[in-house]
Symmetry: D2
């Protein structure tokens, strides 16, 4: 073929223009013949809107990559070189439920962390395994770039239970890098961060600016709270004493672990009648506006409003990763891949998020070694939860599901874990075939 | 010498008659020439009472082991073969403070677990290191049998920072074994439990009765709540579904982690005016009665009332361990010792609580291997806390202290961790020389 | 059943009276209903001789255990509680070939070590896997006590490729213990040796007498060469400087690695016309005499001449191990079992020879930790050879076979490894179905 | 300062023009103010010759970097940014002895491998530690680029016993890469090799050309023997069956382990009267000619004859590494650095040779994981030797020295190890202060 075929599953997402923009900006190094947007029947309307905008974007810039759409996933996978997954099982409605149901038990409601993330994982695992079964048959050499959350868990499911070549990708590390570069008034390329941990639980163990260790200075600058958060996370201030004693840069999602009580209070306030609603509910409004905007025939660029949606730098992370693979760049990206011993004290076959050398053959993690106790315990506890969650999600094992929740650091007791499990199995029954009979 | 010299630091404790009883019952295999009870000046009155009772107990049975008392620790250590530590820095008053101060922040108050246990560790570490400095000079070949809580942490401090030969001992494993034997209507010697974990966080991974795996049956029997608790822990019922999904036997102290909310509610109720008071406050009354009883000239046995005090089987665990060392028995005891790789996924040089072969040369752990995720994460998280706590306690490092608390699974946020730290440093200032200037 | 059924595969071996003697001496603790001796057709004559002697031995002592014989292995396995394997594929003739063919290339010829042991492993693996297939079907709860050499390799094949409960047993550790006890003029029970390594490559890292470290003294006494050898190993003297610098007690088989040149010279001299012949050839004569002796109707005891055959203490090791399992003794034996992390730096799933607690549930290794470099490298190199040999033997993979030999420390080059491989495949073709086509 | 100060210890080496050439070729990215050549008094004449040639080379190209010479090492280290060590304790005469003395015992004589390399290590360790003591005082921020052999061992000594920032460098990996690129008729930059192992014992586990796995094809091409050797290693042909069964690319030095007998025969022939002499003796003649040539006033370039000397691509490896550090390039180089867990099954604190990301902060190894048994055992055995050799060399411990030799895979017995040790201690007495008294 004269160019690559990129298949985007969940192609009707409002994020797609961001992704298209990424391919446009890297067109010189990545010859894309076709971007095939795949979605389910219920998403056809959005899919058409997004596809039209994507075509206008390419036309405007004069690129002849083809945008195609389909609801036939198997057909889409024919000849695929890269498969990008950005789907959301159950849509924003399911996410809104994930965010609300834990609150009554005094537990955080969050899309990827805690019981909400667990519910999302259970809904997503059967779908991703199904995609992988298709890929194994139809395009066994294609790379799966998984952006679907909870990305660490989902990637671990794929890499443990299928033969598909897969990297898990998240915009948190690149977001941290860009934000820290701004904090330091530095060029992004001059900043290098020693990332290690798990998805949405990754620390910058050191930050270097042109090879000089500036970690302490970054930690000082982080205390005002404005820095290093993301659209979907409350921008609570970091405690200066805590950051100094930690000596490493937490990721924005660490707020859920380190500021659990304050975030819970905010969420509970937002979720009451008269409150702002949960994040998903806010996003629903943003989405509606975005899709209206996307239909403007004059619009032929990624609109500035998209940034409000979150997911900043997503396209940069995804497309530069695809290019690193395609061009065998052997450059460093932060991805989710198999540990292989990179982080001591975690199972060798679990998935971690860390700096890796990316080549045509995938990701090779840089050796991290032993984590200091300041972060080792939390990583290990959350990884134990994730391993149990993968088993629960793949096998529909309710014992593992109960153990997963009982092991989650944000859930205060077995009693609450049982209630959460009962609620989430009931709320999501339509999406959990693995737990039937 | 014609017999062993046993030195008991904290000899004025109400537990001492229990220990004396243990030596009496094993007199045939353990030739004790002298039991030297050491205490501090403030404890002299109790020490005298206990020593007199001890002498009457020995006389009654016709043993000529000598009971001596002193407040001069260095003198006591001359010629010591075994040093047993059962002291409590700050006494029950300090323990009562440990149990109360976290409650206002919605955090459990407990003697060995959570912020209370952390405060106790900080008070105890300087004293135990001081004892070890003396031992290194005066009786370098003596064994330290540490019973002082939090026993895992204190043993790790000794084994990391001194050359003293030390085993950490706790009555939880033997208590579980005896209770489970009763549950099974079996002889204790026919029951074998595959213990692994940390002090006060130890699981019975399997229970065998005469080599037959009876774990599932034990878990069934445990659901009524009456079983497997200890005097000092609320006997909340275990959830049957949870036990089945866990497939291992938790220790009584696991309630603090698995039933956090219920225990907190109980503690808060007990601590209010009109409540029963904290455990230490209850124990204070028990103690007063015990010491009155101890002064009865006719009393020449361990009184039945001592059992209410807690610490059941303590003497059995301690004296049988001393005998296993002295007689080079190569039999299996459950103690706190250096991991050495027995439990994968924990640092090789940290202290664990596990089954060990005991000989004249100390403890060699049986290989445990990889813990399943159902328990691995919690063990690793608590071990991370313990390692930080040891560093904080040994070096008076307040950064490590904050990280220790922020890493404790029972503390809900950094904000609360900071408040707890400030409070406990202030409440215990008299006992924390390492944090001065 | 009112007693145990013991099945002995290779029951016609001259060692069997030794084993019968062991059961007689432990009759009080091990109620044996039947000892079923199994052999192949070619061994029927010997089998009958041995069975008759066994019956006379039992009759003499007044035990009513039944001795049965059969050539139908499947029938024998019905109702088996313990299966002891002591067969030799190809008999002493094959062993004699194993001992001779490497000599022309300047390589040691030995039954279990080097190319000879490799040939034996290749012949034995198909047979042991076949036995295990039968056991899985017929007596899945029975224990396999494997005494067939090379015992480490064979046990690793069983534990890697079957579900059979298996312990690998060798008389080297017990032989070392008994010999060292004699050296020390001590009771065997007062001596404890910290064994660790692989089969026929095991070191006593420490020797304690009643808990006192006497390693240095044992090493001094070992220098005269008479000590610590076995019937089948030349009793070359140990170098005193070497032993002191090693600080650990090598096993008799270590001579093949540490005194390679001298042993080779001895072997080459013995193998020439006019020489004494190889060990197998000498043993053939011993065997003939033994079987003549066994036919003496008056003989109703293990004859003293059997000791010349080698295998001293075999029955003691085997029967006491069976008793430890049956009686759930939780006592320490030195066996071949899965590493599980006991020895750091070796794969967790490989088989090691080390001290284990033996109960009804099998063997749990004591934690060894990191081996010092004085022995770590040799253990790891030989284990790499063994892992390759298992793969070669199970799958008939000639690439793995070449790599196994090329990795063996006694083989000086790839060129020689290739020649050895060609020779041994040809010499043993009749016994290597896995290498056909 | 306006540019870097590079200190070259052993500056009078015939290799220095190669290094100067490297700095010239990378002048655009590496601003060198001064190259200070340091040597000992005995080397002054050569030092002057080399310095003059270096100056002519710089002048010819129009660079104003300054060449200085000194015999005062401490003075040289003032203000140093990079210290390159390429000295040879005892010169070629000592090397010639290293190559000859093992031959009489039927053991290879080689500069870096076997007893010769061990002797060289013992001579070198006291000197490198002395240099490091100076660096710690005088230029603690400078990087030590150690090229002195045996580079793995020497680097391990430095990284274990000093605080100096050090990378060990060898031209073997770059030589393999360049030779393989030629074999494949490919551009060097398009070839990437997954190196892992130890210095002079490194394998290319995979070779990729533009991301395509071409390992099998490289192994096919390697069988003619012409390929992949180096000036100082006999170009014996590789066995095709062996390479296929190995599935990885051995380094040229592997011939010493895989073709021991053939190489020994070659060496013994060369060492007899009338033979070509050992490699050192041949090199001595080459060196004399080189130094004559270097004195030609017209010569202002690295002469073609230097290539015969060996050390091809040395300057490329060294100067590109220095540039990667200085420019914080985060690109991949193959160096000797601390394992940190990169290779499982080796101690975390030992030195390995592997692919690393190089930045201003040094080397971070890519995660290798578990080595397959085809290579794991040899690596572990040689690393055990190296660890013992480091201890012997640093502490002058003759027990460790004997164990080091007894553990070396090329030494056939303890008896020979003792003789070799006695000889080498005597032959090198003048250079082994650590073994005095």
């Amino acid at each position: 073929m004269s160019g690559l075929k990129i298949v985007v599953i969940g192609g009707g997402s409002s994020y797609t223009p961001e992704l298209i923009d990424g391919f446009i900006r890297r067109a010189a190094e990545l010859p894309v013949a076709e971007i095939c947007l795949v979605d389910i029947l219920a998403g056809q309307h959005k899919l058409d809107i997004v596809a039209d905008l994507a075509r206008r974007m390419l036309t405007r810039i004069g690129l002849d990559s083809k945008i195609t759409t389909t609801m036939d996933r198997a057909a889409a996978l024919q000849g695929a070189d890269f498969v990008v997954t950005q789907f959301r099982v159950g849509g924003l409605a399911a996410r809104a439920r994930d965010e609300r149901f834990p609150l009554q038990y005094g537990v955080l409601g969050q899309e990827t962390t805690g019981p909400g993330g667990f519910a999302k994982a259970l809904r997503t695992i059967p779908v991703i395994l199904d995609i992988c079964r298709d890929m194994t048959k139809i395009c066994p050499e294609a790379w799966l770039i998984n952006f679907t959350n909870p990305a660490g868990l989902i990637t671990e499911s794929v890499l443990t239970y299928t033969k598909v070549k897969c990297l898990g990708l998240c915009n948190v590390p690149i977001h941290m890098k860009m934000t820290i570069a701004k904090l330091l008034d530095a060029k992004a390329n001059d900043v290098f961060i020693d990332f290690a941990g798990l998805n949405h639980l990754v620390w910058g163990r050191k930050v270097w600016h042109r090879g000089i260790d500036v970690t302490a200075s970054v930690l000082e600058k982080m205390q005002d709270g404005a820095a290093l958060t993301m659209k979907n996370i409350p921008d609570l201030k970091w405690d200066g004493d805590f950051l100094r004693s930690l000596g490493m840069v937490p990721c924005p999602y660490h707020r859920y672990y380190y500021m659990t009580d304050s975030i819970l209070a905010e969420e509970q306030a937002a979720a009451t009648t008269g409150g702002a609603g949960t994040r998903a509910e806010i996003v629903q409004a943003v989405e509606e506006n975005l899709f209206k905007l996307y239909q403007t025939p004059e619009l032929a660029e990624k609109p500035a409003e998209l940034e409000k949606r979150g997911g900043a730098y997503y396209s940069d992370a995804a497309v530069s990763l695809i290019s690193a693979i395609y061009n065998d760049k052997r450059e460093i990206h932060t991805v989710n891949t198999v540990n292989q011993g990179a982080i001591s004290g975690l199972p060798t076959n679990c998935v971690i998020e860390t700096n890796c050398v990316i080549s045509k053959n995938g990701a090779r993690p840089l050796t991290v070694g032993t984590l200091p106790p300041e972060i080792a315990g939390l990583v290990q506890q959350v990884k134990a939860y994730e391993m149990l969650a993968v088993e629960a999600g793949v096998h529909g094992d309710s014992n593992k599901a109960l153990q997963a929740l009982a092991n989650h650091p944000l859930i205060p007791s077995v009693r609450v874990a049982k209630q959460l499990l009962a609620d989430l199995l009931s709320l999501n029954a339509a999406y959990l075939p693995q737990f039937k009979d």
